[in-house]
Amino acid sequence: MTELDEHAAVRRLIDRFGFGAKPGALAKAQDAGFATTLDAVLAPGTDPGAQATPVPELGPEPEKPSKKQPDPQAKKRAKQELKKQSAAITEWWLDRMAATDAPLVERMTWFWHGHFATSNQKVRSARLMLAQNETFRRLGRGDFGALAHAMIVDPALLVWLDGQKNKVGAANENLGREFMELFSLGIGNYSETDVREASRALTGWLVDRDAGKARLVPRRHDTKDKTVLGHTGNLDASSFVDILVAHPASPRFIAGRLWARLVSATPPPPDVLNRLVAAYGPGHDITALLRAIASEPAFKDSATTLVKQPVEWLVGLLRGLGLRPSQLPEKTKLRVLAGLRGMGQIPFLPPSVGGWPSAASWLTTAAGLARVQTARLLTEASKVPDGTDADAAARLLGVDKWSDRTRAALAKVSGKDLVAVAAASPEYVVSG
């Protein structure tokens, strides 16, 4: 293993625990050093960037057209309103990620969105998606148990995984199964009987879309005894989550998922995993786990590269260029979103409950072109000076060093075009 030097390690920390630096911020952090930067990243102070990008007021839930008296006009209006609200939250979140001065908060919100992957395609409510997003932001760096308790009755997640259809005598296993398999334990750590019993524990929840709240309807809830993972009793959503969070497989699973998204697609070796789990501890402390991850030697191994997800790539570029989507001309904004779609990732629309793919699956030809085009749209809209050269682009984007190949490519262009080419380069698309 080759260890990154201090400068490169700080750069990696800012990439992985955030989305890359705003102009000038990287050099300052590198002067401060890795340990000081890590403390600052893990305990963010006030966030002027967040204050400048307040959570949008969406207004009421689009009127639900009556099924008894179908009104095509009303249906169309509701559809348009939903589209408008959905576009608003997507634009807002990208803005927030680009603007924040507490990047770990957004990075972890983004991580949990991919973990409890919920798609607005089925939820069809920007308000519920936004509420879930706020929950990730509020609870995403503390006790995992608190987050899991919030998620098991999260309205958007209930709609997404058919929690509302789960009632006594007619269990729906979607939520119970995915909660164990994808959200808390990992496959192989529970039986099919556990899935069936867990689903009974989760019966009875309904979502009030207008209020944006879920509530337990006692007559729909199964009050008989259930046995989940060896625990028997009149289990409900809350006691089910208690069982999961206390299960020995859970800390290892959560640590592994974070590792995969923040460090490397190669899973951590057992000794590393043991240290991470020890840090996470009985308090299920996500921030302590993050500190342990950053403190592992592997975190500074030059070989632990990570392919940036398209949103991470885009946000990093926005930050480097000092741009926010909301400030772009309408047409450019639409094309940037089209670019994200072309790269295969739109916030609030993960492809399945398993979340987005990782690693090399992002490196397709189609995505490559969308990336080049998007990079050019953004550099055109930026204030990058004309004479910008390869070294200046490396500082702007936070790239340690260009390969000879990329240096040769960059020699063909300058200014905005140079930064666009640099943003499409392997050194930037992959976080070194």
């Binding site: 492809p351 397709t364 030809t365 390969s403 190949r405 392997p426 992959v430």
Partner: protein, 414 residues
Amino acid sequence: MDRLTRRRFLTLTGVTAAGALAVGATQVNWDDLLTAAQTDPLDPSAGVLVVVTLYGGNDGLNTLIPASNPAYQNARHDLAYQPNEVLDLGEGLGLNPGMKGMAGLWHDQKLAVVRGVGYPKPDHSHFRSMAIWQTGSPDTQAKTGWLGRWLDETGDDPLRALSVEPVLPPLLAGEKTAGASLPNGGLHLPTGKFGEAVRALGAASPDELPDQARAAKSIADLYEAAKVLNGASSPDDPDSEDDQERQNGASAGGRGALGAQLDLVAGLVEAGVPTRAYSVSLGGFDTHADERGTQQRLLTELDAAVTPFVQRMRRTDRGKNVVVLVYSEFGRRVAANASEGTDHGTAGTMFLAGERVRGGFHGEEPSLTDLDNGDLKETTDFRSVYGTLIEKVLGSDAGPVLPGYRDRLDSVLV
């Protein structure tokens, strides 16, 4: 085939005479497609059809091989595969050894093999027979393609059918509407100094870590995909021209680089481009001489393109609704000719692949002894498959698309 001959091919099919191509073919570019994906995305539950045309007349008997049948061995001599060479599917039939991936799809129940596919009174001309398949009309000289008529019947947005080839194939030509094609330059790659610089990013760099090497490769691949769209690739590309064996059966046209074409289709489907029918192709199957090596290489290319495409499609909601159809204008003679090849024949093997496909055999295997003048007797009319695809995948009434033809082969889909 150079462009002049390709154009002549299109003329010879008789479809261009309708003028539909001249007036109707819409050229679109990458931006148009991605903007459409943004403003009017494909409904994730909508069926998508990907038509793979094998130009030249693929030898069905050496694709789905009755290796243990003495009549096959007698008829094919040195051209015959032995039972231990083929990928056994049961019922005495096995796939060509080049089709390992598709054999895997078979075992996953995602590959339907339709046997003895043809049409009444088979025509042995490439161009006529291909016109019959593409117009879906064996009886009359129709002036429109079968998917072109589907377009005519269901609206006027040309983006609903897309050819990932520089020239629109006749099957997408309707009377009023024709499918769109990504034309020369359609990929809209950056040009000038900027384009040169982007392209230079695709070069491999020594000591690069694997992820970064893959990122560079994806840019190199992009330029490969651009070649497909820009018509600069394959048959008239010096690189593939050098591959003599690959080019052996190229006389009846069609393109190479099927993998790159399907890669592009996969990206378009995943991006939510509102296209319901895609046309891609692979050429070179006119194996009159030294067939074995050439055909096996082509089938390997087909396999290496279709298998990852189907696997990739299975991973997304939109992709799960994609059905791939693979066909050729005819099979070949049962008996080998004297130059280790085969001549134009009749019924052939058709493949359907995808999550919605019912894997297994469909249609009866034609007899190798009860022949029609040395040719297989067709047991399944291709129009029955078309009808099913129009109705069950594209969700439209097949009546106006296949006038007077009512049989369906609904069993091929789940």
